[in-house]
Amino acid sequence: MTSKNRPLSPHLQVYRLPITGLISITHRLTGVFLSLGLIAFVAILICIASGEQSYIAMQGVMSLWFCQLIYWGFIYALFFHLCHGVRHLLWDLGETFDRSTLDRFAVYELSASVVLFVLTFIIL
């Protein structure tokens, strides 16, 4: 077989991803970001375990604006990943695969993630 005329998969530079594709890569990115966030989670646990002094120091660091930015970024990433994760579980049941529901559910899950984020921001 010659390698000259073989079919190509769509090039990402020229192919406009459908909304499900965009959500899919964002799901991955948020997953990696949340995994890195686990290091910060463990750091917070260590500070709680080390006593009141380090606990207060940790609260001081976490109140800095860029830590707050990462913190709320982490929480939005969590809700995004959770909502699309639920969608994956629906797909695993064999549901919502046809084209019309695909786009509609994409809007549902994005809205759900934003609503959950705003609610958390207001309550916490």
Partner: protein
């Protein structure tokens, strides 16, 4: 090579049995993490804003201790499985890929152990 031989060879190379287990545990931990995420948010909210004694008191409640322990175990497993898939997709050289997956698993295992030790130390306070 017949089709059956090819598919058997492929199954052997791709380690199909562990792939099925990978799929199953990724879903199992995902389902567990949906409700447990509430406790993560509650803990973070306490840890970032509440006085020290209040956070300790909250963590000492049996339901909260259990939920945070369960979240930690599930999330470490879920993250390790997820990062493995990412590495399998983007690291094409097999020796590098296996080394990267092993390194990532080791990192997650260490994070998990440190987290569990911290939770036990907090509980003993």
């Amino acid at each position: 090579m017949s089709f059956n031989e090819i598919s058997e060879k492929a199954a052997e190379l791709l380690n199909v049995k562990s792939a099925v287990a990978h799929w199953r545990y990724q879903r199992l931990t995902a389902v567990a993490l949906v409700p447990l995420s509430i406790w993560l948010l509650l803990l973070l909210n306490k840890a970032l804003h509440a006085p020290y004694a209040e956070t300790l008191h909250w963590l000492a409640a049996p339901l909260n201790t259990f939920a945070i322990l369960a979240w930690t175990v599930a999330v470490i497993y879920h993250a390790a499985l997820g990062v493995q898939v990412v590495l399998e997709d983007y690291v094409s050289t097999l020796t590098c890929r296996h080394a990267a997956i092993r390194a990532s698993n080791l990192a997650f295992l260490s994070i998990g152990i440190i987290a569990l030790i911290s939770i036990i130390l907090i509980f003993l306070r």
